[in-house]
C-alpha cells in the first residue's frame, strides 16, 4: 500500500481536473459527488497507509516513492517524490480528514452559490497542493505545495471576486505569503549551496556538516517562510482579511490546514532547528508574542469570523512556541487538535451565518442557542476545547505546550507566563463571542429573526463529527502525568526526535533557564510541578471565562463603559494596533510612490529625456547647420577657402615637422 502513496494526492488532482474541465457541463450533482469523493478516497488511502505504517516497527516507518525526475540541472537534482513517515502521514490524515468533512459541509453551505463548481475545483486543488506540501520528500516539491496552497488560498479568499474587499484580501494574502516564500526560497538556496541537495533525507543526514551560523541562517530564513504561511508576527496581517472567503474555506485553509503548514515545516526541519538554538529562541518568542498580541486584538472584534481568525493566529503562535522550545510533537499535537476545534468553530460560525442570512456581527446576534441547538452545542464544545477546559482535546495539547515552554531546556518561565496569560485571554474572548452569539438577549435584525433555522443535515453532521473529534482528539496525547501514554509523542519521535536533549541547551535561553533552575525551581521535571502548572492554567482559563461571563452576560453595559473610559486604548486595540495602516504607509504606498517616481521621473524624464534630448539636439543642430547653406555662391566659395586655408596651413606645418 505504501507504494501507492501517490494516490493520496492523485485523487484530489483528478477531482480538480474533472471539476475544473468538465464541471460546468456535468452539473451540480456530479460536482457535489466528485469533490468530496475525491477527498474521501484520499482520506481512505491515508488511513490504509497509516495502518500499514503503524504496523511496522518505529525505526522502519519511513518510505519514499519517487515518481519522476523533475528539475535537473547540473548538480541540482530534484524529483517529484513522496515520502511517508509518521509526521507526514499524520498531517495527511488531518488534512484529508478535515477536508473531507468540510467538503461535505460545503455541499450544503455553498449550495446556492453560482460559483459552486469553481468552488469545488479550487477546494480540490487546494487539497492536492496541501498533500504535496506534507507528503513531499524534498524542499522543492514542498515549496510547490507551499505556493500552491497559497494560490488556492488566494483564489478562495477572492472567491467572491466581485467584492473588492474579497479581491483585495486575496491579493494581500498572496503577496504577504510571497514575502514569506522569499525567506523560504533563500533558505532552500542556503541548504543547497551548503549541502548540495534539497532532499529531506539527504539534507538532514548531512546536516551535521553545517556550521552554526549557516544553520541559524537557514532556519531563520525558513522561519520567515513559516511566518508568512502561518500568519505570525509580522506577517500575520493577511489572515484576518482572509475571512472574506467562504466560511468553509476559512475553516479548512485558514484554520485547520494551510496555516499550520509553517508549523509542519519547522517540525519537518527539526534536525536543523535543533542545531540552531538562536533560531529556536526566535521561533518561540515570535510564537508567544503572536499568541498574546493577536489574542488581545480578539478582545475588541465584533466580527465573529475575525475573532476566530485572531484566535487562529494566536493558536498558531502556541504551536510555534511549542516547536520553538523543541516540543515538536506537542506542536503537531496542538496542530491536530486545533484543526478539529478551530475547524469546527469556523463551520459553526458558518452555520450561524447560514441561519442569520450571512450576518457576522456578534452585536447583532444573541440568544441563538435554542434556535440552532446543534450549532450551539458543537460550537460550545469547540469553545470549551479552545479555552483549555480539561477533558477536551484542546486542554491536552495546550497544556503540553505550556508545560514544555516551562520545562524544556529551551523553555523559560517567561514564555510559560505569557503563554498562560494568552490562554486566559483566549478563554475570555472565545466566551465573549460565545455569549454574545448564543446567550443573552436577541439583537438580531427583526426581518432576519423570523427565519432563523438550523442548518441542514449535510452541514450539521460534519459539525458533529468534528465536535466528537474535538472531544476525543486529545486522548492520543494524554500526558504521562495524567496517566496517559502520550501516543502521539512516541509516534512522532522518530521524525522529530524527543526534542532537544536536556542539558544540551547551550545558547539562547540556556543562561536564563539555568538561572531559573538555580533559583530553586528545579522541580521543573517533577510531577507535582507539572500538575500544579496544569491546574494553574486551568484556573487562568476559568478566570477568563468568568470575566467574559461577568462582562457579557451579567453586565452587558459594562464593556461599553469600559471602552469609553479607556477610549484611547480601546481604539488602539479595536483598530488592530494600526498595523495594517502602518504597513500600508510603509510598504504599499511608498512602493507605489517609488514606482510612480521611477516611471515618470527616471524612465520618462531621465532616460527617454536623454534619448529624445539627443534626437532633439541633433534635429536642432540640423536646423541650425542647414542655415549655413545660405544659398549665396560666394559664401560657398568662402567655405572652400576656409577649407583650403586649413589644408594649406596643415600641410605647411607638416613641412616643418
Amino acid at each position: 500500500m505504501l507504494d501507492y502513496v501517490w494516490l493520496i494526492p492523485l485523487f484530489p488532482a483528478i477531482g480538480f481536473l474533472i471539476n475544473g474541465l468538465l464541471g460546468r457541463r456535468l452539473g451540480k450533482g456530479v460536482v457535489s459527488v466528485v469533490g468530496p469523493a475525491a477527498i474521501g478516497l484520499s482520506f481512505l488511502t491515508s488511513i490504509l497507509i497509516f495502518f500499514e505504517l503503524i504496523g511496522k516497527p518505529a525505526s522502519e516507518r519511513h518510505f519514499e516513492k519517487v515518481i519522476f525526475d523533475w528539475v535537473v540541472s547540473g548538480s541540482f537534482q530534484t524529483v517529484i517524490g513522496y515520502q511517508i513517515d509518521p509526521l507526514s502521514i499524520l498531517m495527511a490524515l488531518v488534512v484529508t480528514g478535515v477536508s473531507f468533512f468540510i467538503h461535505i459541509y460545503s455541499v450544503g453551505y455553498m449550495h446556492d452559490d453560482p460559483g459552486y463548481t469553481r468552488y469545488f475545483t479550487y477546494l480540490n486543488l487546494f487539497v492536492f497542493m496541501m498533500l504535496n506540501l506534507v507528503l513531499a520528500n524534498n524542499f522543492l516539491l514542498m515549496f510547490v505545495g507551499w505556493e500552491g496552497v497559497g494560490l488556492c488560498s488566494y483564489l478562495l479568499i477572492g472567491f467572491w471576486y466581485e467584492k473588492d474587499s474579497a479581491a483585495n484580501a486575496g491579493k494581500k494574502a498572496f503577496v504577504v505569503n510571497r514575502v514569506g516564500d522569499f525567506g523560504f526560497i533563500l533558505g532552500m538556496f542556503l541548504i543547497f549551496v551548503n549541502l548540495g541537495t534539497l532532499d529531506f533525507t539527504d539534507a538532514f543526514a548531512k546536516a551535521g556538516q553545517l556550521d552554526t551560523a549557516t544553520v541559524t541562517a537557514i532556519t531563520l530564513l525558513l522561519f520567515v517562510g513559516a511566518c508568512g504561511k502561518s500568519a505570525q508576527i509580522p506577517l500575520y496581517v493577511w489572515l484576518p482579511d482572509a475571512m472574506e472567503g467562504p466560511t468553509p474555506v476559512s475553516s479548512l485553509i485558514h484554520a485547520a490546514t494551510m496555516v499550520t503548514a509553517g508549523v509542519y515545516m519547522v517540525a519537518r526541519c527539526s534536525v536543523l532547528y535543533n542545531m540552531a538554538p538562536i533560531a529556536m529562541a526566535v521561533v518561540a518568542i515570535v510564537g508567544v508574542a503572536t499568541a498574546i498580541f493577536t489574542a488581545s486584538i480578539g478582545f475588541c472584534q465584533y466580527d465573529l469570523k475575525k475573532i476566530l481568525a485572531y484566535s487562529t493566529i494566536s493558536q498558531l503562535g502556541y504551536m510555534f512556541l511549542a516547536v520553538g522550545v523543541g516540543a515538536y510533537s506537542a506542536g503537531i499535537f496542538h496542530l491536530m487538535t486545533h484543526a478539529f476545534f478551530k475547524g469546527l468553530l469556523f463551520l459553526g460560525a458558518g452555520s450561524v451565518m447560514h441561519a442569520l442570512s450571512g450576518e457576522l456581527d456578534i452585536r447583532k446576534m444573541g440568544a441563538l442557542r435554542s434556535k440552532i441547538p446543534i450549532t450551539f452545542g458543537t460550537f460550545f464544545i469547540a469553545t470549551l476545547a479552545i479555552a483549555g477546559i480539561p477533558g477536551l482535546s484542546g486542554f491536552f495539547s495546550k497544556d503540553e505546550i505550556l508545560w514544555m515552554a516551562f520545562s524544556s531546556p529551551r523553555g523559560h518561565f517567561l514564555l510559560w507566563m505569557v503563554a498562560a496569560i494568552a490562554a486566559g485571554m483566549t478563554a475570555f474572548y472565545m466566551f465573549r463571542a460565545l455569549f454574545m452569539t448564543f446567550f443573552g438577549e436577541s439583537r438580531v435584525d427583526h426581518h432576519v429573526a423570523h427565519h432563523i433555522h438550523e442548518s441542514p443535515k449535510i452541514m450539521t453532521v460534519p459539525l458533529m463529527v468534528l465536535a466528537f473529534l474535538s472531544i476525543v482528539g486529545g486522548y492520543v496525547g494524554v500526558p504521562h502525568v495524567l496517566g496517559g501514554a502520550n501516543h502521539i509523542h512516541e509516534f512522532l519521535a522518530p521524525v522529530v526526535g524527543g526534542g532537544p536533549e536536556p542539558g544540551k541547551a547551550h545558547a539562547g535561553f540556556s543562561i536564563l533557564a539555568q538561572a531559573w533552575a538555580a533559583g530553586g525551581a528545579q522541580g521543573g521535571h517533577s510531577t507535582a510541578l507539572e500538575l500544579f502548572l496544569m491546574v494553574l492554567s486551568v484556573l487562568i482559563a476559568l478566570t477568563g471565562i468568568g470575566i467574559a461571563y461577568f462582562l457579557y452576560l451579567k453586565n452587558p453595559i459594562l464593556p461599553k463603559r469600559l471602552a469609553e473610559q479607556y477610549s484611547g486604548l480601546y481604539r488602539l486595540v479595536a483598530n488592530k494596533y494600526y498595523v495594517d495602516e502602518l504597513y500600508q504607509v510603509l510598504f504599499v504606498n511608498s512602493l507605489k510612490k517609488l514606482g510612480m517616481g521611477l516611471w515618470k521621473g527616471f524612465d520618462e524624464f531621465i532616460i527617454d529625456g536623454t534619448v529624445n534630448g539627443i534626437a532633439y539636439f541633433i534635429g536642432w543642430l540640423s536646423s541650425l547647420m542647414r542655415r549655413m547653406q545660405t544659398g549665396f555662391v560666394q559664401n560657398y566659395a568662402v567655405s572652400m577657402i576656409v577649407g583650403g586655408v586649413i589644408l594649406a596651413l596643415y600641410y605647411i606645418m607638416r613641412a616643418f615637422f
Binding site: 547653406q629 576656409v642 594649406a648 596643415y650
Partner: protein, 483 residues
C-alpha cells in the same frame, strides 16, 4: 617628329561614346521636328551598350597607350564599367524624364554621352592633362545639363552656381597641378611618384601646398566638407535625371581621379594626408547626415545623403589599404545602383508640371503604389546600410578597411553616422507606409524605360548585397596597378 603609337582599341569605348554623341546630334538635326524623340535616347543607350562591350575585352589587359598617358588597367576598367552602368541607367531614366520636361532633344543625350566620355577619361588618365581635360569635359557638359530646364529658375540657378564654383575650384586644382609640375618636372603620375621617391621631396613645401590645392579641387567634385556647399543647391535645382547622374557619375569619376592622383602620384605623402583626410571624412559624414535630417525636399535630402556617402568613402580612402581602395570601388558601384534607383523613384513619382519632390508627397505611397514604394524603401535602406542590400556590403568593406588600418574611432564614428542616417531614410518610409497622404497624387505613368532602370537598379542593389563576391574580387584585382 614622330607620332606616338595609336592603339584605337584601347580607346574604343571613348571613341564609341563620342561618335554616338555626335550621331545623336546629327540624327536630331535631320529628324522631323516636333515628334517624340525617344529614339535619341535609345540610340545613346545603344552607344553606351556598345562601349560597354568594347570595354569588357580590355579587362585584364592592363595596356597603356598614347605615350602612357592613357591606361586601360583594371582600375580604369572597373571605373569605366561603373560609369557606363551609371550612364546606361541615367539614359534609361532620361528617356522617361527628359521628354516629360521638354528637354528630350539631341543635345541633352549628347551631353550626357560627352560627360560620360569625360568621366571615363578621368578614370583612365595617367597623365595630369588627360585627367584635367576629362574633368573639364565632364564639368562643362554637366554645367549645361544642370541648366537644361531653361524655363525653370531653379535649374538655371543650379547651373549658375555649379558653374561659378566649378570654375573657381578648377583654378585651385590647376594651381595644384602647376605646383606638382614645378616640384617634379613631370605631369605623368608615375614619374611624379618615382621622382619624389628618388629625390626625397617629402618636405617640399610646394608639393605639400599642391596637396592642399588638389584636395580642394577633387574635394569639390566629390562633395566633401567643406567643399560640398554647392551640392544641395545644384542637386535640387538640376533636372532630376541630371542630379542622379551627378550624384553617381561625377562622384565616381571624382573619386577615380582622386584615387589615381593620390595613390599613384603621391603615395609618399600618405602619412601627411591621412590625418587631415580623417577629419574631412568625419566632417563630411557628419555634416551630410545631420543636415539631411531637417530637409523636406527629397532631392535635397538625397544631396546631403550623397555628401554623407562621400564621407563614408573617404573613410576607406583614409584607411588607404588595399581593402579600402577596393572597398571604394565596390562602394561606388553599389552607390550607383542604389542612388540611381532612388532617383528613378523620385522621377517616377513626378509627372509633367508636377515634380512631387517634397518628402511629404511620399505620404501614403506605400499602399497606393506598393511596388514603387517598396523599391524606394529598398534603396533607402540600402543607403542606410541595412543588410542584405548592396549598401550594407559597401559600408561593410569600407569600415572593415578602417578597422584593418586600426582607425577604430573612424569606423565607430562612421557607424554612428550610419545610425543617424537611418533616421532620415526612415522618415521617408515612415511617410510612405505609416501616414495618410496629404494630397492625392494620381495619374502617374510608369513608362517602360525608367521602370526598366528601376528593375536593374533593384537587381544591382540586391546582387551586390547578396552575392558581393564577384564584384568584390574584381575590385580587388582592379586595384593591383594602382598601388
Amino acid at each position: 617628329m614622330k607620332l606616338p603609337d595609336i592603339d584605337l582599341y584601347l580607346i574604343a569605348p571613348e571613341i564609341i561614346i563620342t561618335v554616338f554623341g555626335f550621331l545623336v546630334l546629327l540624327v536630331d538635326v535631320f529628324a522631323p521636328k516636333g515628334e517624340k524623340k525617344g529614339y535619341l535616347g535609345v540610340l545613346s543607350l545603344l552607344g553606351v551598350a556598345i562601349a560597354f562591350f568594347y570595354t569588357l575585352p580590355l579587362v585584364g589587359t592592363g595596356k597603356t597607350g598614347f605615350v602612357e598617358m592613357f591606361a586601360a588597367d583594371g582600375f580604369a576598367i572597373f571605373f569605366k564599367i561603373t560609369i557606363l552602368i551609371i550612364a546606361f541607367l541615367t539614359l534609361l531614366i532620361s528617356i522617361g524624364y527628359a521628354p516629360r520636361e521638354g528637354i528630350g532633344f539631341g543635345e541633352y543625350y549628347a551631353l550626357i554621352l560627352f560627360a560620360t566620355f569625360g568621366m571615363m577619361l578621368m578614370a583612365a588618365g595617367t597623365h595630369l592633362i588627360i585627367i584635367f581635360l576629362g574633368l573639364e569635359t565632364m564639368s562643362i557638359s554637366i554645367y549645361v545639363l544642370a541648366g537644361m530646364l531653361r524655363g525653370d529658375q531653379k535649374s538655371v540657378e543650379s547651373a549658375f552656381k555649379y558653374f561659378l564654383l566649378g570654375a573657381f575650384a578648377t583654378g585651385f586644382l590647376l594651381y595644384g597641378i602647376a605646383f606638382l609640375y614645378g616640384a617634379t618636372g613631370s605631369l605623368y603620375l608615375k614619374n611624379i611618384a618615382s621622382y619624389i621617391g628618388s629625390k626625397n621631396l617629402l618636405n617640399h613645401p610646394m608639393l605639400l601646398m599642391s596637396l592642399a590645392f588638389l584636395t580642394i579641387g577633387f574635394g569639390f567634385k566629390i562633395a566633401s566638407v567643406p567643399f560640398h556647399m554647392w551640392t544641395p543647391d545644384v542637386y535640387e535645382g538640376a533636372p532630376t535625371s541630371v542630379t542622379a547622374f551627378m550624384a553617381t557619375g561625377v562622384k565616381a569619376a571624382g573619386f577615380s581621379a582622386l584615387l589615381r592622383v593620390f595613390f599613384t602620384a603621391l603615395p609618399a605623402f600618405q602619412p601627411d594626408w591621412t590625418s587631415i583626410m580623417w577629419l574631412i571624412a568625419v566632417a563630411t559624414m557628419t555634416f551630410g547626415n545631420i543636415i539631411a535630417i531637417s530637409q523636406n525636399n527629397i532631392k535635397r535630402m538625397l544631396a546631403y545623403s550623397s555628401i554623407a556617402h562621400a564621407g563614408y568613402i573617404l573613410v576607406a580612402f583614409v584607411a588607404g589599404n588595399k581593402l579600402g581602395t577596393s572597398g571604394i570601388l565596390f562602394y561606388l558601384m553599389a552607390y550607383a545602383f542604389m542612388n540611381l534607383g532612388a532617383f528613378t523613384c523620385v522621377i517616377l513619382l513626378g509627372k509633367k508640371g508636377e515634380e512631387n519632390t517634397l518628402i511629404t508627397d511620399y505620404a501614403g505611397l506605400g499602399f497606393k503604389y506598393p511596388l514603387l514604394a517598396a523599391s524606394m524603401t529598398v534603396f533607402l535602406l540600402s543607403m542606410a546600410g541595412i543588410p542584405p542590400l548592396g549598401g550594407f556590403m559597401a559600408k561593410f568593406y569600407v569600415f572593415s578597411a578602417a578597422v584593418e588600418a586600426k582607425f577604430y574611432w573612424l569606423a565607430v564614428l562612421g557607424m554612428i553616422n550610419s545610425a543617424i542616417s537611418v533616421y532620415y531614410y526612415l522618415r521617408v518610409t515612415v511617410l510612405m507606409y505609416f501616414r495618410e497622404p496629404e494630397r492625392e497624387i494620381t495619374g502617374l505613368s510608369f513608362s517602360p524605360a525608367p521602370t526598366l532602370a528601376l528593375i536593374l537598379a533593384l537587381i544591382g542593389t540586391f546582387y551586390l548585397g547578396i552575392f558581393p563576391s564577384n564584384v568584390l574580387s574584381f575590385a580587388q584585382k582592379s586595384i593591383a596597378g594602382l598601388m
